[in-house]
């Protein structure tokens, strides 16, 4: 207790020293997690970068791991025009928002090699014709299946349902056919985007028109509802589930199929905690066999790196981004924490074998069929509207058509209210 004041004072002095770099030094701040294997990896790569670039010092600024908390912090800082962190770690759906707000700098003048990355990861980071962030690692929606129950990958959604039914009806078969994320949150949209693509529908088309209530989309939502109530291959419980509940069900051997991200692979391959180790495989979600325009679709997630528009050192910041997204660092990241590289070339030549827990070929196929969620600055509010309306349809408070009509009307009102049309017209001329 008696040491208290002196300790506080010296801590303050130390902090003051740490925060006042000499004038000529280039100091970057990198936003990220300092926890666990991820923290160790980032620290290691930043240290190497500093050795290669003696004039630049990089500090790690801890930001929350929870995406929506990090988003809220960034928005507050950027409204106050704070230049730190100089490199922002963005969720895939934030780039257009930050770009339209002028909070991140376009990267085109540094000449990034766009063609080396998966096309969808570049599309997701492009706003009004300019690239605003480089994809750091990719997350992608996967269909997990129990290979002991379903040896062959289902080629269509209809086959998926019938395989699920026959797996459930086996003696000592699993309780559930298909488990997924159906609670009213972002996860519901990621699942919907995959069914939507499977039927050839979209939320917003290339001309910026809201098409989420077109017949293809209605059929996709009807299909999701029928899985719950008509074919009963998905338990009603999924309407309250997030990623983890779905993983528990699948990992405990209670489901034939699961829609989830790549992260459960590690835990589910561990025989100590998983009943399905060595008995599962992944593939992209299949297309519907009844929709000619339908295609196999996986929702794209993952992290991007962008330059804070208020930083003093944009050039140095880009050098760090280029370093972290270079092939060597991506490979190292895949091997250390299992995150998927965003560079196409890394999936060949056995570079990734054993690193990500599944055959690299399967991961590549999934990322190649990856679709970004609508690339628009108003994504978060658009998503909230859809979450509510989709959930209403899936809990049978509304018919799918009715719910999607309501969603379309609200999204159009949102576009009006936020001046999006004017903004898009203005930017495309510029």
């Amino acid at each position: 207790m008696r040491r208290g004041p002196r300790f506080v004072l010296s801590a303050v002095l130390l902090a003051a020293c740490a925060r006042s770099p000499s004038k000529h030094e280039t100091v970057l701040t990198f936003s990220g997690s300092a926890l666990g294997a991820e923290g160790t990896l980032v620290a290691k790569q930043l240290k190497r970068f500093m050795q290669l670039n003696p004039g630049i010092r990089v500090e790690l600024q801890r930001t929350p791991d929870d995406a929506s908390q990090r988003h809220q912090l960034y928005v507050q800082w950027l409204n106050a025009r704070v230049g730190n962190p100089s490199i922002l770690q963005l969720d895939v759906v934030w780039t257009p928002e930050f770009a339209a707000a002028g909070w991140v700098l376009p990267l085109d003048r540094y000449g990034p090699a766009k063609s080396e990355f998966f096309a969808a990861t570049i599309t997701a980071n492009t706003w009004a014709g300019k690239l605003y962030a480089l994809p750091w690692f990719a997350d992608v929606g996967l269909l997990y299946r129990r290979t002991d129950l379903v040896p062959r990958e289902p080629r269509t959604l209809e086959e998926l349902v019938s395989e699920a039914q026959s797996a459930m009806s086996r003696r000592a078969g699993p309780r559930y056919g298909i488990v997924s994320q159906g609670a009213r949150y972002e996860g519901l949209i990621t699942g919907f985007v995959e069914y939507l693509g499977a039927f050839g529908g979209r939320i917003i088309d290339d001309r910026g028109e809201v098409v989420v209530n077109r017949p293809e989309a209605v059929r996709a939502l009807e299909f999701m509802r029928d899985e719950l109530y008509r074919w009963r291959v998905a338990p009603l419980d999924v309407l309250t589930w997030h990623e983890e509940e779905a993983r528990f069900a699948f990992q405990n051997g209670n489901a034939a199929f699961m829609r989830n991200w790549p992260y459960p692979v590690a835990a589910m391959s561990d025989t100590a905690q998983s009943k399905v180790a060595g008995k599962f495989a992944v593939s992209p979600m299949p297309a519907s066999g009844t929709a000619p325009a339908g295609h196999s679709t996986a929702t794209l997630g993952g992290a991007q790196l962008a330059i804070n528009a208020y930083t003093e050192f944009p050039e140095a910041a880009y050098r760090l981004i280029a370093y972290l997204t270079a092939p060597e660092q991506m490979l190292e990241r895949a091997r250390a924490v299992g995150q998927y590289p965003t560079r196409l070339a890394l999936y060949g030549d056995g570079l990734l074998s054993g690193a990500i827990g599944i055959p690299p070929e399967n991961a590549r196929r999934a990322i190649e069929s990856a679709t970004p969620r609508p690339v628009t600055p108003i994504y978060t509010e658009l998503s909230e509207i859809l979450q509510i309306e989709l959930h209403r349809a899936l809990v049978r408070q509304a018919e799918p058509r009715e719910a999607l009509d309501a969603a379309a009307a609200k999204i159009n009102a949102l576009i009006e209210r936020t001046g999006m049309r004017k903004l898009m017209a203005g930017t495309s001329k510029a």
């Binding site: 929506s68 809220q72 928005v75 507050q76 409204n79 928002e97 339209a100 707000a101 002028g102 609670a183 009213r184 949150y185 009603l236 419980d237 309407l239 309250t240 509940e245 069900a249 600055p377 108003i378 978060t380 509010e381 909230e384 509510i388 309306e389 959930h391 209403r392 809990v395 408070q397 509304a398 936020t418 001046g419 903004l423």
Partner: protein, 301 residues
């Protein structure tokens, strides 16, 4: 003359003495309120700087008036408040009457009853969520074992059943508080009144209706005022238990406001919603104090 001037100087001294307190109140209560009101007259979307921050007058309030989600949320809030408070008052009165009797271990019971009230709301909400969980929830296991249900029920996907855990959790948590407030009221009632009534041959029911309840009225009204205001601001309990779902069927106004203000970062519209909630709770408090004659602060009976 001398008298008034002395009074005047005393009054000045009085004002001088309370000035710091008034300053603090202005700083922490009136200033933020004024600021929020000023915000509410602007279009201010934190994540859309291209819109600027134009003054829009009452446009945000007009949007609220036309927003079906707001009116639904207001309905949910009123429903939650009325149902949970009615149950809490009834059970709380019962508990208070029981605790007011002289019996061995009364002190222990009075302390034990407060345990639910002492648990943080978020923790209590999580507990109730586990109880009502569809897979591995205690309640479902119990209902299936007893034979009331054939298979586990998913409580949170229908509006009517999603309200059950919400209201139960609130009643469980807040009844002790209500009981304690009422118990304090009961202890103010002069016991000789009951003795006199008993001498006159009045039975227990008559005593309850004609002595206990009328004399308990101030305590009941104070309880009501507290609980109504709490009920109208309900947030954490529902945020954890249902998140406002299914769809938006259990969303209260406070959750909707949180969403507009802190999720969507619509500062103008969110501020307008906050002002509306403030106006409603303030109006309710005023109604209780003026309309029903609740006396706060001064002793009565």
């Amino acid at each position: 003359m001398r008298k008034t001037s002395r009074l005047g100087s005393e009054a000045r001294l009085g004002w001088g003495l309370v000035a710091p307190a008034l300053g603090v109140i202005a700083l922490i209560a009136i200033f933020p309120l004024g600021w929020t009101f000023w915000e509410s007259l602007h279009l201010h979307e934190l994540r859309m700087p291209w819109l600027g921050k134009p003054f829009v007058g009452l446009a945000n309030y007009v949007e609220i008036a036309r927003d079906p989600r707001f009116w639904a949320a207001l309905g949910h809030t009123a429903f939650f408040t009325v149902v949970s408070i009615s149950l809490e008052l009834l059970l709380g009165l019962f508990l208070a009457l029981a605790m007011n009797r002289v019996f061995r271990g009364r002190g222990f019971v009075r302390a034990a009853v407060l345990v639910p009230w002492a648990i943080p709301t978020v923790v209590a909400a999580l507990l109730w969520r586990f109880i009502f969980e569809s897979q591995g929830g205690i309640l479902n296991a119990l209902l299936v074992d007893v034979g009331i249900l054939n298979q586990p029920m998913v409580w949170f996907i229908e509006a009517s059943t999603a309200w059950v855990p919400v209201i139960l959790a609130d009643v469980w948590k807040t009844t002790p508080f209500v009981a304690l407030l009422l118990l304090a009221g009961l202890q103010n009632i002069d016991l000789s009144l009951y003795e006199a009534a008993a001498v006159d041959g009045a039975n227990a029911w008559w005593q309850l209706r004609h002595i206990t309840l009328p004399l308990l009225k101030p305590a009941i009204l104070v309880t009501l005022i507290f609980r109504t205001l709490d009920g109208f601001r309900v947030f954490d309990l529902i945020y954890v238990l249902t998140g406002g779902g299914p769809g938006t069927s259990t969303e209260p106004v406070a959750l909707y406001t949180f969403n507009a203000l802190l999720q969507n970062l619509r500062f103008g519209y969110g501020s307008a919603l906050s002002v509306v909630i403030f106006a409603i709770t303030f109006g309710l408090a005023l109604f209780y104090v003026k309309g029903l004659g609740v006396r706060l602060g001064e002793d009565e009976t």
